[in-house]
Symmetry: C2
Subunit: 762 residues, 2 copies
């Protein structure tokens, strides 16, 4: 039981769940366990995605002809699945704690509204104005796997108040210039942009995005060249100054939040460790935990870890080598759990045991591929290849439009591909497959080369496969390996990938929200030849005579994907007012609200995304400055080494009942006495941050420990209250470290692998 | 002589001139002095501006009809003036040092080319293709007063290499997508944007700026909705990722440069102080300088400073109160010289000596205006005023276009203006004029109120003055005072003003450069009804039938100002390709080079400007974080207090021969014994930086002193070589501080004000 609760604490620490979402007592535990496993998380995710993807078959649909009854039934099924998790959560938290948990309450309300909405639809057998569908992403965001997205969303929301202040300035300036513009330009009958106060406001609002520049200036400019000053002043102030100010504000707020978030997560995890630690200590050993209890914890916290790795982790954590973990050592448990363990490699290359001639051959190859001139030669070939590709494309282009039937594989392409293939082979032979694949760049090389070979084959045997040839230029991406700055960029990109995907998911959710509303509002209008006698008439012209600008009727809300493309066009901002004015012409002026609001929301989201990218790269570059002296800063991985003695190894394998492994290692151990293991983890952003803020972390933690002294603790097991066993504060722990315990911790290992009689806290 | 050279050193330190531009010997001094005074600087600036403004009367001219002979003569006159400064500089530096000075060489070469060019024009009596005119800003930038602009320019140039690397990635991606785009879309006969490789490149180059989106996508989108993926991928990668990466790179480089520049300036000034100090010490007193020599220095370094202020500065510098300045104390000389001195104000308000009833009346007013509810009330009136303004404008707007003859002053406007006037008067009475004017916000209030009153009067008496009414909304700017963040924004803006103007000057110079070239290349074409049968035909349509989009012929290069507006339109980027395609249609494809190059240059300049604004605001916000505990951080001014005793005061005034002042202070001094003075300076960015980097500065300086030990020194006076009097390094100075000198420094004051026999270094 205690092992289980300790593992729950560690999980809550890891997922940044509040400790008040901890199961309230032992009876609530089953409900907690049912909803907290990957099976249930996946089911929940499936239900959320199912609900969101219903937009594909609901009117206006991508796949036409699905009856209302069918998609509403699916919807009710999805809502039923979501309902299970709500009920379970209510069960394990109790209604009072549940109502304090804001996110859960929002989820519940949305769920009820949707159930009602769906039932109304299924009863009346036809859809109505269903904007509630826009709220479906709430279930999606609430999923356990989307913690990163929630965190990003919280950062966006925290950036909103300062953004609103800057938007205040912006709107103020907008109003001032609207008034000026109206007084100055409305007397000009040829100027449609300032004919009334409202029109002037819309024109200047659009001018903020530059989308109608210079057209909006032209009628006034034609009258007097001095009027240019008005527009230049407006753009200089609003666009070049205020907008950058907004970016600066968001950037500073974002950087602060980022650092603060790191601090909070660190403190939260530390607290989780403290709670877990308190459940694992025994009465007889109140400040340290033995291996047995650590193993018990890991069985619940990381069920898939094997006996050997558990022991390696314990030994890596136990820096004092006392055989017992102090709280200070235990704090590192999250870090240790993210290492993957493997026997340390022998320093000899893989081919050292091959027969003589082959070995010396491999040795030569190894020398060749690790030579820097070899790399230069490869780069030279890539550059030549790139040049020939360019020249051949330009040559094809000079003969007019490309036609797919002309595709042919030229001999130079074949030579290059062959060369890449040989290079990859040589490297694999020279370095060994494992070493070769351990570099992301090599994997990239290999994939591109294999794709190229497949492309060539496809081109040779099936003409219709011509799309493969468009992959040709991708080979050139290898060139990015050459310069240090480019490598930095790509490494940063890799480290950021999880957060970039969070940003992308948030953008997609925003799109989904606005797309549903847009479809409900605008999908019934046909935009072909709309807007006669408006300023945008010509863009919606449709009679096949004009050639270039008559396609805007395609930018509509006819289904979820088309709406998505239209919203992307609004995001890019150029000419967005043409789409807006089109819908204003067929509906009413109120439609502007939708488009202007979307612009504002996207501006906020994009500012945060830009600030995020800026922050990530400046962080990386500052990090590079800070750790310039560290030798391993370019390494994408962090390593840790642990040695196991013969006795320890035999203990482990005897424990695990794996006598085969024991015999396998026997020979090796007889030679060396110990066996070395290596733990490896990816260098994530958190690792970088921990290095970067190394100097500040101790003060944060001390502060947090101070605060914690007076807080109530959320223990499920009543006998684990802070009163029976006091929290070992870090200060007291370090002074009390029991150096007198036996240096070997064999004694704490129980050969049966079961929990011994000295079970914690009983 | 030594005083003079020491002052020259300090000046060089202040202007960040290299010490190798120091006059090489005593004979060169006259030439140095002729060119180093405000008269000559102004003449030089006048010549540079004269040359640049010639573009107004040269073909294609703003002011038509000036004969070629006239403007070329003016040009030769301007060049003659510039020539003087070149010759003088040659004289004082000697040809060898001159040729080492890159900027001077560039100036000389440009000057020779221009002289030749102008003579050719005056001989042939007609202008030819004169792009050399684009180089005129070189003389302008070289002017002494444009040090800030040169520094900014250097920062831009230093940001170029990393920008080029990112541009490398960008162009690489552009080429890949061009190839893909060509293969994918050129088979579509209805797609003009990808018909050839070159066309595809131009389309995607323009798409980088989003100017042709979504039009460029539409033909492909009409064929297959999947093609949207191509454009979305391109924009996501190039625009949202790479462009932000570029901004991040520029931002980081810029922040580093900014800090480094501050460090270098600090070290440079320190070195200047050391050189100056070495010239001021005497053989008998080799580590300290007495007041006499300090005064001698100031006579050349700050000739307008009066006797009292010199003494106050000396006393403020002399923190050890030894009566002799050590080198460490002397280092602060730049800071001290930027203070303005005034007698410390009495704590009583100004009206304390008025007769009884008036005094108590003033006292009441003072209480009123310093009450916070008074401020809230004023804000409320402003908000109401803003609302009525808005409503009345909307009301006017509802009756159709505004006509200037309708202007009338409504009673509510009069009431508001009257209220503002009364408020300003009350505040002036309550706080005293000096205190009132010492706050920038109050000055702003007063100016706006006076303008409003003038506007009302103008409206009443002359209808044609209606432009004044457009000033009405400006009053609302007062609202910005309300929130802390807005105040921060405005304060940052004020501190940045000099650097913002540098940025603006650089943009204007870039415009000038491109405008001259654009005029030479394109001014001979008439764009009306040009471009028949091109994609941009309709934009240049000119027959008064269409209404909205037929004004693009106005975006031309017909004179320097119109070219400037056109270039601004290219800077804003929206629809810039219409202007480019227009000129491509009337000239050749090579014209694209001009427009694309301008875009690239402006992208670099604007990135740096954006990075600069970002950096400034993030610096400010970080500064606010750092100094949160400082009480006076909101104060725009820095203060320093010095007390003068009766003896010191009488000494000063007797020295200055001002017996009147002596008698005036006599009564006051009899009462208190000492008189307090206050030095005030504006809180500039340098002040903020010095506070911000307080912890790092000592290590910078120690490092710089270390380096300096092995360098040759550029002394003009041969007997001031480092061998005769060793540099007092800071370490040795602090240890040698002569505490045994008399605590009063009356002894070093010479009543005649002349340099005594114990002159330095003789």
């Amino acid at each position: 039981m205690n092992y289980h609760e300790a593992a729950i604490f560690l999980e809550e620490g890891e997922n940044n769940d509040k400790f008040n979402s901890h199961p309230r007592d032992r009876d609530a535990l089953p409900a907690y366990l049912v909803t907290h496993n990957h099976g249930f998380y996946s089911l929940d995710l499936f239900a959320a995605l199912l609900l969101m993807s219903l937009a594909v078959i609901e009117q206006p649909a991508v796949i036409q002809g699905v009856p209302v009854g069918v998609h509403t039934s699916i919807e009710l099924f999805g809502l039923f699945l979501v309902g299970i998790s709500i009920v379970m959560q209510l069960r394990w938290l109790g209604p009072r704690t549940f109502l304090k948990h804001k996110r859960s309450v929002v989820k519940l309300v949305t769920w009820v509204v949707m159930i009602v909405d769906a039932i109304v639809v299924i009863v009346s057998a036809k859809t109505h104005f269903r904007v509630t569908r826009a709220l479906r992403p709430i279930f999606f965001i609430d999923n356990r796997y989307l913690g990163g997205v929630r965190r990003f969303l919280r950062q966006i929301l925290m950036s909103v108040p300062p953004i609103l202040e800057v938007l205040g300035i912006l709107f103020f300036i907008l109003i001032i210039f609207t008034t000026l513009g109206y007084y100055l330009f409305s007397p000009n009958p040829k100027d449609p942009y300032f004919s009334s106060f409202g029109q002037a406001f819309v024109s200047l609002y659009v001018l903020l995005t530059t989308a109608n520049f210079p057209d909006v200036m032209m009628p006034a400019y034609a009258r007097s060249h001095w009027s240019a000053a008005f527009f230049i002043a407006f753009l200089a102030i609003s666009l070049y100054f205020i907008m950058n100010l907004m970016l600066a504000v968001v950037f500073v707020v974002f950087s602060d939040i980022e650092k603060d978030k790191f601090r909070k997560l660190l403190v939260h995890k530390r607290r989780a460790c403290q709670y877990a630690f308190r459940l694992l200590v025994t009465r007889s050993q109140p400040t340290h935990i033995p291996f047995k209890h650590f193993k018990g914890l890991l069985k619940f916290f990381r069920p898939s870890t094997n006996e050997r790795d558990v022991f390696l982790m314990f030994k890596a954590l136990n820096r004092s080598q006392s055989g017992l973990l102090s709280l200070n050592e235990f704090y590192d448990v999250y870090n240790i759990c993210s290492f993957r363990w493997r026997p340390q490699k022998a320093p000899q290359p893989w081919f050292s045991e091959l027969p003589g001639p082959i070995r010396s051959c491999c040795f030569l190859i190894q020398h060749l591929v690790t030579n820097k001139w070899f790399d230069f030669f490869v780069y030279a070939v890539i550059v030549v290849n790139a040049a020939t590709l360019m020249v051949s494309t330009i040559y094809i282009s000079s003969k007019g439009p490309f036609s797919p039937s002309e595709v042919e594989v030229s001999w130079d392409q074949l030579v290059c591909i062959a060369f890449y293939g040989v290079e990859a082979l040589l490297k694999i032979v020279g370095l060994g497959l494992v070493d070769y694949m351990s570099s992301g760049w090599n994997v990239f090389d290999l994939v591109v080369t294999i794709l190229a070979v497949l492309g060539i084959i496809a081109e040779k045997f099936a003409n219709s496969f011509f799309y493969i040839i468009i992959l040709r230029p991708l080979r050139l991406l290898r060139l990015f390996r050459m310069r240090r700055r480019y490598r930095d960029v790509f490494q940063t990109l890799m480290i950021l990938l999880p957060r970039i995907s969070s940003a992308v998911i948030i953008i997609i959710i925003t799109y989904y929200f606005f797309a549903i509303i847009g479809m409900e509002l605008f999908s019934q209008y046909d935009m072909k030849n709309c807007c006669i006698n408006t300023t945008v008439e010509q863009f919606y012209h449709y009679d096949n005579t004009t050639f270039y600008l008559d396609y805007y009727y395609l930018n509509n809300f006819d289904n979820i994907f088309i709406a998505g493309v239209t919203l992307f066009e609004l995001t890019v901002v150029n000419n967005w007012f043409i789409i807006m004015e089109g819908y204003v012409a067929v509906t009413s002026n109120w439609s502007r609200l939708y488009f202007m609001l979307f612009y504002l929301v996207m501006m906020v989201v994009m500012s945060v995304v830009v600030a995020f990218i800026l922050e990530a790269f400046t962080f990386r570059m500052e990090y590079n400055h800070t750790v310039e002296q560290d030798k391993d800063r370019d390494d994408e991985q962090v390593r840790i080494n642990v040695e196991l003695t013969k006795e320890e190894l035999s203990m482990i394998y005897r424990n695990a009942g794996d006598t085969g492994a024991l015999q396998r290692y026997a020979a090796e151990l007889r030679l060396e006495g110990t066996k070395k293991y290596e733990g490896v983890r990816q260098r994530t952003r958190v690792v970088l941050q921990r290095r970067m803020y190394r100097d500040e972390i101790p003060s944060w933690l001390a502060e947090a420990d101070q605060e914690q002294q007076n807080e109530a603790t959320p223990f499920m097991s009543p006998h684990a209250s802070p009163h029976t066993v006091p929290i070992p504060t870090p200060a007291s722990t370090t002074t009390h470290t029991p150096r007198h315990t036996p240096p070997s911790y064999m004694g704490s290992l129980n050969p049966n692998g079961s929990i011994a009689s000295d079970s914690p806290n009983t």
